[in-house]
């Protein structure tokens, strides 16, 4: 115990190396476990389909499923879900975001727009 209190420089170096290795070992082990868990519980990738010649959305994006899927306008990325927001306000918000980012609107992808009420905060 006294050796550890008045630790030598060599022992301190060895402890530091061992400690860093233990941290890596623990987190690599955790990486393995989490990855394994992901294999069983991660969502299945949706089948990609082209609708009306328009490429399907990115894999990671949520897919909006409707009964009668109308062909989308060229350049669009899909439909945006609106919660407690009227289309006019949504259009203005999307335009403001596009202007702020200096990126054409058809290169942006809006998934949903929701009005945050005071009690939600």
């Amino acid at each position: 115990m006294s050796d550890l209190i008045h630790i030598s420089i060599g022992a301190a170096g060895a402890t530091a190396l061992l400690g860093y290795a233990v941290v890596f070992f623990a987190l690599v082990l955790l990486l393995g476990v989490v990855s394994l868990m992901g294999l069983f519980t991660a969502p299945k990738k949706p089948a990609e389909k082209a609708v009306g010649g328009i490429p399907a959305p990115e894999r990671s994006a949520p897919v909006l499923v409707t009964e009668n899927l109308a062909p989308l306008a060229p350049g669009t990325a899909g439909e945006v879900k609106l919660y407690d927001t009227d289309p006019r306000t949504a259009a203005m918000l999307m335009a403001i975001v596009a202007d702020e980012l200096q990126t054409p609107l058809n290169e942006l992808r809006f998934i949903s727009i929701r009005e945050i009420k005071e009690e939600d905060q």
Binding site: I5, I9, Y20, V23, L30, P43, S60
Partner: protein
């Protein structure tokens, strides 16, 4: 009634007289000035104000009320805690002796000494943390590990500067950039250094936006900083519920000394994610977190009595803390650069610096620096993965040091 005598007695018992009549009383004046500076930094500069205001006021209260030889009105009694830790003292580990002689801040400090407050803070942190980004990209865990480099380099540096092993371990953990973990480990290994270590940890955490960007720029090329990362995959509710259970099981079995921190962190996260304990999650995130923060901050500040704080060791700790933060940032960036190379340039190495914990400040710095070089780049959610991995990594590092030096 002798009015003159009463007035003289009041005057001689006052703190004003004690500054000049007691041994080292003038040092209290310096500590009071330091408390004012910390209050200024917390209130005006907004450096971790929730903690720094409490720490500064705790420091102010203990240095206004405690003078050597005049301890009867003190709110915090360092000599009680010295006896508590002295194996040769009849009051060794005697909470009864503490309770019968304690001032208000001594009572608060019992929660620090017993490791209760840091663990409860971790419960709140767990309830506030979304581990989704980490689950979407589990490789982030490697960045959380890489960013613990500063912990062990600072530990080694502290030994070189003459600190004992337990003291050096407590100083090194500043590099984990996690206040509760630093406090937890220091109260176990080197409680006499708690004040300077807590101040260094929280001050540097507040200064992360100033400390990290120059290191990030020095270690990465402009091309690396401009890398846009692809959107991470969705994470299911099942994964989020299983995660705290799995992490607690594996990490605690591997390193039992991490149980209080990892156990509480993951319990809080389970409250958040399981969907049937919303009330508990809300309490852990808000009411409990706020109450514990008040007790933790004031009692840590109270340990900054002049006799303990004003020493060369404090200056060394402040210096080593800065080294630890800088090297941990560099370690995380190195990990990021390795991942950039091995992924064929698909991972932005700037997210590596977020592995130093300090949630969410370090992730925000990655986002800000990334956007400076590519204004359409949004690294925040990618950086949150290493950021929360850093919380786990620093708890594991603390667990290792406690296992080695905890006796």
């Amino acid at each position: 009634m002798n009015i003159t005598g009463v007035l003289l007695k009041l005057a001689s018992q006052s703190g004003f007289a004690a500054f000049f009549l007691t041994e080292g009383g003038w040092k209290n004046l310096i500590m009071i000035a330091i408390a004012f500076v910390l209050l200024y930094l917390g209130i005006v500069k907004k450096f971790e104000p929730l903690l720094l205001c409490g720490i500064a006021f705790g420091c102010l209260l203990s240095n206004l009320s405690y003078f050597i030889g005049m301890g009867e009105n003190a709110m915090y009694h360092p000599e009680l805690w010295t006896e508590f830790l002295d194996a040769a003292s009849p009051y060794y580990h005697s909470y009864g002796h503490i309770l019968s002689n304690a001032g208000l801040l001594d009572f608060f400090y019992i929660g620090v000494k017993a490791g209760i407050y840091p663990s409860l803070i971790f419960l709140g942190v767990g309830a506030m943390t979304d581990f989704g980004p980490l689950l979407a990209n589990p490789k982030s865990l490697l960045l959380g590990a890489a960013a613990q480099l500063g912990v062990f380099i600072a530990f080694f540096g502290a030994v070189l500067l003459g600190f004992t092993g337990p003291e050096a371990a407590s100083i090194g953990i500043i590099g984990g950039a996690d206040g509760p973990t630093a406090i937890f480990l220091t109260t176990k290994l080197a409680p006499h250094l708690l004040g300077p270590i807590a101040i260094a940890a929280y001050s540097y955490m507040a200064l992360i936006p100033l400390i990290q960007p120059p290191i990030m720029k020095a270690m990465t090329t402009e091309k690396m900083r401009q890398v846009k990362m692809v959107q991470a995959r969705e994470v299911t509710k099942t994964e989020k519920i299983l995660f705290p259970v799995v992490v607690a099981t594996f990490v605690i079995l591997l390193l039992p000394s991490t149980a209080p921190l990892i156990g509480c962190l993951m319990l809080g996260n389970l409250f958040r994610e399981c969907g049937v304990t919303d009330r508990l999650s809300d309490t852990a995130q808000n009411a409990l977190m706020n109450i514990v923060t008040i007790f933790l901050a004031t009692s840590v500040g109270a340990t900054m009595v002049a006799q303990n704080f004003l020493s060369w060791d404090t200056i060394k700790i402040i210096f080593l803390g800065l080294v630890a933060f800088g090297i941990s940032t560099a370690g995380g960036l190195l990990g990021g650069i390795v991942m950039y190379k091995t992924s064929g340039g698909r991972i932005n190495p700037l997210i590596g610096s977020a592995g130093v914990s300090a949630v969410p400040m370090a992730a925000r710095v990655s986002q800000d620096v990334g956007r400076k070089y590519n204004k359409n780049n949004y690294l925040l959610m990618h950086a949150m993965g290493p950021n929360v991995a850093g919380v786990i990594g620093s708890a594991v590092a603390a667990g290792f040091l406690l296992a080695v030096f905890g006796g």
